[in-house]
């Protein structure tokens, strides 16, 4: 197996091995097989009517044939391929998930776990058919333990529902990924980050414990309601970000914090993006700790406000055009404390070259200021026929140079590029859009563009994905970025959890 031959990366069944020449052989027959995809498809069994009956005997929520929701064939980035499952289930309990999983394990049926299908890298697409496990009906908030600051939930609870429920108890679940109608279990499976990561960290920092159904159908509990652990390998942390390839997360114990008593957002307009971005580290240097720091350029704000139907970002100031904005959120224990932060942040921004500082200090104003930011993706989708995306993360001091590079490469590759991102943590969302290219030509140009910009991201110290994950769409860039040694470790881990390779095949570290 060569390091560069992506097609050669394959996980093998126990009975198979890779020969020294790189050929994959099935040891039973000893025949070299080079068409790997066929090997793996051959590895899986088709669902028979008898197996469907067995699954129906353990689950009341089974869908076959035309009853299967066509959305199950795709996520929000169909450019990475679509595929209908042969059967869909909507389990209501961990035991039900385990029983279905066990049947599939015994019979070599691939299983793809899915939340709300809001992913952007093809992670929930059942590439090999089999069973689609929709976990969104396991959506109960089970209990709060406010002495230990945790909430227990089922994995299918929506982020929006969890956030609102916590707030109604004066608590906050800090992770705040842009898509509020995704399942929290899926947030954990991709280690989703979001707007507040700059102050509060990503989803990983809020997972205390989880219940997992392993590919074999065994149920296991990982982690505990404790703040420290030095208790062997952290299997729970392997599960976080594993994108449904190691096990199915069914229940979660999540850390929550007392909600800040007051908050305000600042819209800070700048003449250019570089000045805006150069302002970001200055907040930190002055001991400020904003909850969120987002950057955005005028073009995408205008696009999004048109979509939202409400315009609150100024376009110009005293006749001078505004070209970039920072959007900050500050929080604290009282209105007075937040007012002091507003004062200080404004001084820092104005000294760094901001044109003005606008203050959103009521619930509605904060909501309106963030409405445009939260709708960038939907606004782009609305006005774009062909779309692809990358969410690289680079060191914060490299954002401006990197974006300049990206825009220049976009021009060279003949692609329309739209960018926005988290200025506080270096996570960038870079969209390639087209309304006039045919799909083949678009994909060709995007491939060429990705090769260049992912290489540059790695070269400047970044990584392939900040929060969207690898799925099936970004595997080759992950290989280029982390190298063969690390990929081999990942494949080894996959094999320990899922020796039969039946859980979400074709994702993260094993391209089929």
């Amino acid at each position: 197996m060569t390091a560069t031959g992506i097609e050669d990366i394959i996980m093998l069944h126990d009975e198979q091995h890779i020969s020294a020449s790189g050929a994959v052989t099935a040891s039973d027959e000893g025949i070299p097989i080079r068409k790997k995809k066929e090997v793996l498809c051959g590895m899986y069994n088709q669902l028979t009517p008898a197996l469907v009956e067995r699954i129906r005997s353990v689950s009341d929520h089974v869908f076959a044939g035309t009853d299967i929701n066509p959305d199950y064939a795709r996520d929000e980035m169909p450019v990475y391929g679509t595929k209908m499952p042969d059967l869909a289930v909507q389990p209501r309990s961990t035991e039900e998930v385990a029983a279905i999983m066990k049947i599939c394990y015994e019979n070599n049926i691939p299983v793809t776990p899915r939340g709300m299908g809001t992913g952007l890298v093809g992670g929930a697409v059942p590439l090999y058919g089999g069973v689609l496990m929709d976990l969104s009906k396991m959506n109960r908030i089970l209990s709060y333990d406010l002495e230990n600051f945790v909430v227990n939930i089922e994995a299918g609870v929506l982020l929006a529902d969890l956030a609102a429920d916590c707030l109604s108890r004066g608590m906050m679940y800090p992770p705040d990924p842009g898509e509020k109608f995704a399942c929290v279990g899926a947030n954990v499976a991709t280690n989703a980050g979001g707007m507040r990561a700059v102050k509060y960290g990503t989803t990983r920092d809020y997972v205390r414990a989880m219940t997992v159904v392993l590919p074999s159908g065994e149920i296991t509990r990982m982690g505990a309601t404790v703040s420290k652990t030095s208790s062997g390998y952290s299997l729970m942390n392997l599960m976080i970000g594993s994108e449904g390839t190691l096990g199915i997360i069914t229940e979660l114990t999540l850390k929550i914090i007392p909600a800040p008593k007051a908050s305000a957002s600042l819209i800070i307009p700048f003449r250019d993006l570089r000045t805006a971005l150069a302002t970001v580290p200055k907040f930190r240097m002055n001991h400020m700790d904003p909850q969120a720091i987002e950057f955005m350029e005028r073009q995408i704000v205008t696009l999004s406000e048109r979509y939202v139907g409400k315009a609150v970002f100024p376009q110009e100031l005293g006749g001078e055009p505004i070209n970039a904005y920072l959007l900050l959120t500050l929080d604290g224990r009282s209105t007075e404390e937040v007012d002091r932060q507003i004062d200080q942040a404004a001084d820092i921004a104005l000294e760094a070259g901001a044109m003005d500082v606008l203050i959103a200090d009521t619930h509605n104003r904060i909501k309106d200021a963030w409405a445009a930011r939260s709708s960038f993706l939907e606004a782009i989708m609305e006005e774009t026929k062909l779309l692809d995306e990358c969410d690289v993360v680079v060191p914060v001091n490299k954002i401006a140079d990197y974006l300049e590079f990206v825009n220049e490469q976009g021009r060279k590759c003949g692609l329309e590029i739209k960018t926005f991102g988290h200025a506080g943590d270096g996570n960038l969302h870079i969209y390639q859009c087209s309304n006039d290219l045919d799909e083949a030509e678009f994909k060709k140009r995007v491939d060429a563009f990705f090769d260049i910009i992912y290489r540059e991201a790695t070269a400047c110290g970044g990584l392939v994905s900040g929060e969207h994950g690898i799925g099936s769409g970004k595997i080759r860039y992950l290989v280029d970025s982390v190298g063969e040694t690390n990929m081999e470790l990942m494949r080894g881990i996959k094999k320990v959890f899922d020796p039969k390779m039946i859980l979400n095949p074709g994702k993260v570290c094993c391209q089929l």
Partner: protein, 267 residues
């Protein structure tokens, strides 16, 4: 053009929650804001001032903490603001409130040494929802009024107003001075910019009490001046029952609805 904007401080209804046990509003810890419709009235006033010159003066009746709401208006283009607050004003219904405000408007005109060409407010406050106070101010002051304005444009010393109505909108012409109430406008109220925001924090808000309103008749203020008597207040039961006739022709559906209403004694 000199404009008086009447505002009310209200609880931020976006943050009000209902107690799941008692079914009453949980007001504790709920921040106060300027009534959202009034923020549109202020934005319309500031836009007129920017075009035509003049002053924008805020008048608000309420407890001492309502000064904060006035201060936030000073951060988005108002020039001055008066808080109308007095012991004798407590317990006023809409009739008494509108009377006190009309007296306050006269007193402020005297203090500011100007005449208001326009008195503008939101169509209603989101807490009381009566939509009565501004129209009553017009009656007390014997001024023409237009409610539900979608847009206000000055033209040759008159106002041209686009008024929202069920079938679309009307365009009305109103002589000045006049009272106008606005709905949600096609543009959003501006966000405070840091300079005016900082200045507004330093401003002292003058308070006018019954002693400062020279011509006021105190028997028309407070509880004694309020014909409205609240007998009982309760949370309405949510009743989502309904019958939808979708599979029958419209005429037959209409007949069925009519007979049901008549059976129920409603018509």
């Amino acid at each position: 053009m000199n404009i008086c904007v009447c505002i009310k401080q209200v609880p931020d209804t976006a943050e009000i929650r209902i107690d799941p046990v008692t079914h009453t509003l949980i007001r504790a810890g709920v921040p106060s804001i300027v009534n959202p419709f009034d923020t549109y009235a202020l934005e319309a006033a500031v836009r007129l001032k920017e075009k035509l010159g003049g002053r924008v003066v805020i008048i608000s009746m309420g407890p001492p903490q309502a000064a904060e709401a006035i201060r936030s208006c000073l951060a988005v283009g108002a020039d001055e603001g008066y808080l109308i607050s007095g012991r004798k004003f407590g317990g006023s219904d809409t009739l008494a409130t509108s009377y006190i405000l009309s007296e306050a408007i006269k007193a402020v005109e005297k203090r500011e040494n100007l005449r208001f060409d326009l008195i503008v407010a939101g169509k209603q406050a989101v807490d009381g929802d009566t939509a009565q106070v501004a129209p009553e101010i017009a009656e007390h002051l014997h001024l023409p009024q237009v409610t539900y304005a979608l847009d206000i444009v000055e033209q040759n010393g008159e106002l041209r107003i686009k008024r929202d109505c069920d079938s679309g909108y009307d365009i009305l012409s109103v002589p000045l001075p006049a009272v106008v109430t606005v709905v949600r406008l096609p543009y959003e109220p501006r966000y405070p910019s840091i300079g005016p925001w900082r200045e507004s924090k330093k401003r002292t808000i003058p308070v006018l009490s019954e002693a400062d309103l020279e011509t006021i008749d105190l028997s028309r203020c407070g509880l004694s001046g309020s014909p409205t008597k609240v007998k009982k207040s309760y949370t309405p039961v949510r009743d989502k029952h309904g019958t939808i006739f979708s599979k029958v022709p419209a005429e037959q559906a209409a007949e069925k609805v009519a007979s049901m209403l008549s059976e129920a004694g409603i018509i």
